[in-house]
C-alpha cells in the first residue's frame, strides 16, 4: 500500500515536471544589465504563465566569455532556445554562414515588423536568404561620459576634438586626475574605434570594413599615432578594471572622462541612481559629433532549438512595442522600433533617440556590427602589438595582415 502511494507520488511529480514548458534564454546580461532583461522576462512570463524561463547568463562585458560558452554549446548540439547576438557581422558572418539560424522573415511579416524597424537596421540582420534575428535595442558606441560638477572644479571644458582633449590632458594630470579612464582589453579597443572614427571621418571609417581603404594607408597609420597620444592620458591599471569599474572612476571623481557605449548610462542611472544631465553628463566622443556609431543587440532562433514554439513567442515579446519599452529604459538604450514611446525614457535616452534619427550612422567594430568576427577577435592581437611596441606602423601592418587573412570585406 505504502509503495503504491509512493509510486503515485513519484508519477505525479514526474508528470508535473513534464507538463511545464521551458524556455532557455542565453545572454551576457548579468549583474548590472540584469534588471532590463528581467523586465523583459517578466513580461513574457505574464503572457505565458505556464512556461518556466531559464535565464542563462554568462558574465563578462561585450560577451568576452559568453561567446566561448555559447559556441561550445552550439557545437555540442545543445543550442539554447534563443540567444543574444550583435546585429551585423557577428550574426551574419558567424552564425548565418554556418547555417545555424532559422530564417525569421515570416515572423517579421506576421508581426508587421518590416514597417516598424528602421530599414538600415533590417539590412544589418538580413542576407539575400532571409532575416535572421529580432533587434531589441540600439546602443551608441561613441559617447564620452563625465561629471559636469567635477569638470567645473577642475576648470576643464568638454573637448570636442582630440586636439582639445590633449590640451586639457596635462592640466588634469597636473591636478592628479586621470584624464581618460579605460578598463580591460576590449574597452581599449572600444576607445580605438571612436578615435579612428574621429580621425578618418565616417566615409573612410566605413571603407575600412568593406576593404576599400587599406589599413596601411597613411591616414590609418595616423589614427594609431593619435590613439597612442590619447592612451598616454589614460590610467595604468586598465587591465584590472571592468567597464563598470572604469565608469565608477569617473563618477567618484578619480577620472575626468570615459569613452564607453551608452550601456554606461544604464549603469549610472539604473544601478547608481544618478540623474542624467545633472549628476552625469555626456557628449559625442571627440570629433564624432553628428555621427552615431551603432550597435544593436538582438535575439535569434537557432536551428534545433529544443523549445522552438516558446522561443518564437519569446521573439514576439522581444520585438513588441511593450517589450522594447520595458527593456530599453532600464538598459540605457533606445528602442529600434520607430513607434517607441519616448516619454518613458530619461533625458539621455531622449537625446540619443534624437541623434539616432538625425545623425549619420556607422557600425561598431568591437561590438560585432562592422566586421566579421574572425577579424574582430584577431584585432585584439593587433591592439596588443600596438601596446607592446608603441609603433603605429607595426599595428597598421598587423591589422592589414589580419584583414588579408580573414578576407575582410569579402
Amino acid at each position: 500500500m505504502r509503495m503504491k502511494i509512493l509510486l503515485a507520488f513519484v508519477l505525479s511529480v514526474g508528470l508535473s515536471v513534464a507538463s511545464a514548458q521551458e524556455l532557455e534564454i542565453f545572454s551576457w546580461w548579468a549583474g548590472d544589465e540584469g534588471p532590463a532583461l528581467d523586465a523583459l522576462i517578466e513580461l513574457y512570463e505574464a503572457q505565458y504563465p505556464n512556461v518556466v524561463v531559464e535565464n542563462a547568463t554568462v558574465t563578462g562585458g561585450a560577451g568576452v566569455v559568453a561567446r566561448a560558452v555559447l559556441k561550445t554549446r552550439m557545437l555540442g548540439g545543445q543550442p539554447p532556445d534563443s540567444f543574444q547576438v550583435h546585429a551585423g557581422e557577428e550574426l551574419i558572418g558567424t552564425w548565418v554562414v554556418a547555417n545555424r539560424m532559422e530564417d525569421l522573415t515570416w515572423l517579421f511579416e506576421e508581426e508587421g515588423w518590416l514597417d516598424v524597424f528602421p530599414p538600415d537596421l533590417i539590412d544589418l540582420i538580413s542576407t539575400d536568404g532571409g532575416i535572421w534575428s529580432v533587434p531589441v535595442n540600439i546602443h551608441r558606441s561613441n559617447v564620452m561620459w563625465f561629471v559636469p560638477e567635477n569638470l567645473e572644479a577642475w576648470g576643464v571644458d568638454v573637448p570636442t576634438t582630440w586636439d582639445e582633449f590633449l590640451e586639457v590632458c596635462s592640466s588634469l594630470q597636473g591636478q592628479g586626475v586621470t584624464p581618460l579612464v579605460v578598463g580591460e582589453s576590449w574597452t581599449v579597443q572600444h576607445l580605438w574605434e571612436s578615435v579612428a572614427l574621429a580621425e578618418l571621418g565616417p566615409d573612410a571609417y566605413g571603407q575600412l570594413w568593406t576593404g576599400d581603404l587599406s589599413f596601411t594607408d597613411p591616414s590609418v597609420v595616423a589614427t594609431w599615432e593619435r590613439f597612442g597620444e590619447v592612451m598616454d592620458c589614460t590610467n595604468d591599471d586598465a587591465s584590472g578594471l571592468s567597464w563598470q569599474q572604469a565608469t565608477d572612476r569617473v563618477v567618484d571623481g578619480d577620472a575626468a572622462f570615459n569613452v564607453m557605449g551608452d550601456w554606461a548610462a544604464g549603469y549610472m542611472v539604473t544601478t547608481l541612481g544618478l540623474e542624467p544631465g545633472v549628476d552625469m553628463g555626456w557628449a559625442a566622443s571627440p570629433g564624432t559629433d553628428g555621427v552615431f556609431m551603432v550597435l544593436s543587440d538582438s535575439f535569434g532562433l537557432p536551428v534545433g532549438a529544443p523549445n522552438r514554439d516558446e522561443a518564437i513567442d519569446w521573439l514576439r515579446v522581444v520585438g513588441s512595442l511593450e517589450g522594447q519599452d520595458a527593456f530599453n529604459p532600464l538598459k540605457g538604450s533606445i528602442a529600434p522600433r520607430l513607434d517607441s514611446d519616448l516619454g518613458r525614457y530619461n533625458a539621455y535616452l531622449q537625446s540619443a533617440a534624437e541623434d539616432f534619427a538625425n545623425d549619420r550612422q556607422v557600425g561598431s567594430l568591437v561590438h560585432g556590427t562592422a566586421a566579421k568576427e574572425s577579424f574582430m577577435s584577431e584585432f585584439a592581437t593587433v591592439m596588443e602589438i600596438f601596446l607592446d611596441t608603441g609603433s603605429a606602423q607595426a599595428a597598421a601592418s598587423a591589422a592589414e595582415a589580419v584583414a588579408i587573412q580573414t578576407a575582410l570585406g569579402r
Binding site: G31, T59, G60, T72, G76, G77, Q78, S242, Q244
Partner: protein, 276 residues
C-alpha cells in the same frame, strides 16, 4: 663547540620563519572573511583590511541561493566519479600487482602517462565524442570524463598499496581454493580500507576543484561550482562581498575533508609523486 644540542639562538629564527609563513598563508583568509561579511557599500579598497563596521551575513544567503544547485552538481559529480574510479582503480591495482602478466611493464607506464597529459591535447576530440554519444552538456558525460582520466592515479595508488600485501597470503588463499574474485573479496579488499580512503579523498578533491573539463563540457544547468564561481567573480563590476562569500562556499567541502582527514590527504599527495 661542545654543545651538541641546538644552539638556543637559532630557535627564535625557526619560530620567526614559521610565524611569517603562517602569516603569508593566513592573510588572504582573513581578507576573504572580512570582505565576505561586509555590506557591499562598506567595501572600499583603502579599508580592505578593516573589520566590517556591521557584520553583514546576507552575502552568504545570496551566494548560497546562486550556488546551491551548482554545489549539488559538484557533489553528484565528485561522488559518483570518485566511487567508480576508485573501484576500477582497485581492481586494476590488484591485477597489476598480484597477477602480473607479460607486457604489464609496458602497459602500466602507458596508463600513467594519461594522468600527466595537458588535457587541452584531448579536449577537442573529447568534446566531439561526448556530443556524438549524446552526453555533451550532461553530468554523466563529465562523470565519464573524470572516471577515465582518474583511472591512472587510482590504479597507481592501489597498485603501490597492494604491493605491500605479501604474496604468501594470496598463495594461502589459492590453496584454499579461492579464485580471482575470491582472493580479492576475502583477502585484498578487506585490507584496502585505508587505500580507499586515500584514493577517495584525493580524487574527490581533484574533481571538486577541476575547471577545464567543467567549463567546456557542461551547460549552465549542469555546471559545477568552479565554473559558477569563475562566473560570479569574473568580468562585471565586482562587488567583492559576493565572490568572497562564494569562494568560501566553494572551498568548504574540500577544506573540511582536509582538516578532518589530513593524514590521508597527505598520503594521497605523496602517492601522486609516482614513487611515494
Amino acid at each position: 663547540m661542545t654543545n651538541r644540542r641546538r644552539p638556543v639562538s637559532t630557535r627564535w629564527i625557526v619560530y620567526l620563519v614559521l610565524v611569517l609563513g603562517a602569516l603569508f598563508f593566513l592573510l588572504p583568509v582573513y581578507l576573504v572573511v572580512v570582505t565576505a561579511f561586509k555590506a557591499p557599500a562598506d567595501i572600499r579598497l583603502a579599508t580592505a583590511w578593516h573589520l566590517p563596521e556591521t557584520w553583514h551575513p546576507q552575502s552568504f544567503v545570496i551566494a548560497w541561493e546562486a550556488f546551491a544547485p551548482k554545489l549539488r552538481n559538484s557533489m553528484v559529480l565528485a561522488v559518483s566519479a570518485t566511487a567508480i574510479a576508485a573501484v576500477l582503480g582497485s581492481l586494476n591495482g590488484y591485477v597489476l600487482s598480484k597477477w602480473r602478466f607479460r607486457g604489464a611493464n609496458v602497459i602500466f607506464p602507458l596508463m600513467l602517462f594519461g594522468m600527466f597529459i595537458p588535457y587541452q591535447a584531448i579536449l577537442i576530440p573529447l568534446f566531439g565524442f561526448l556530443r556524438d554519444i549524446g552526453l555533451y552538456g550532461t553530468l554523466q558525460g563529465l562523470v565519464l570524463t573524470h572516471v577515465v582520466y582518474g583511472l591512472p592515479i587510482t590504479t597507481l595508488i592501489f597498485r603501490n598499496f597492494y604491493a605491500e600485501i605479501p604474496d604468501e597470503m594470496l598463495e594461502a588463499g589459492k590453496i584454499d581454493g579461492a579464485g580471482f574474485f575470491g582472493l580479492y573479496w576475502w583477502i585484498v579488499f578487506p585490507l584496502s580500507v585505508s587505500g580507499f580512503v586515500v584514493v577517495v579523498i584525493w580524487q574527490f578533491t581533484q574533481i571538486w576543484n577541476e575547471f577545464l573539463f567543467a567549463v567546456t563540457l557542461t551547460r549552465s544547468a549542469t555546471e559545477p561550482i568552479t565554473v559558477a564561481l569563475a562566473q560570479l567573480a569574473g568580468g562585471e563590476a565586482v562587488r567583492w562581498n559576493l565572490p568572497m562569500a562564494g569562494a568560501i562556499l566553494a572551498a568548504l567541502p574540500t577544506l573540511i575533508i582536509y582538516v578532518v582527514l589530513g593524514r590521508y590527504f597527505i598520503r594521497g599527495l605523496l602517492a601522486g609523486s609516482v614513487k611515494g
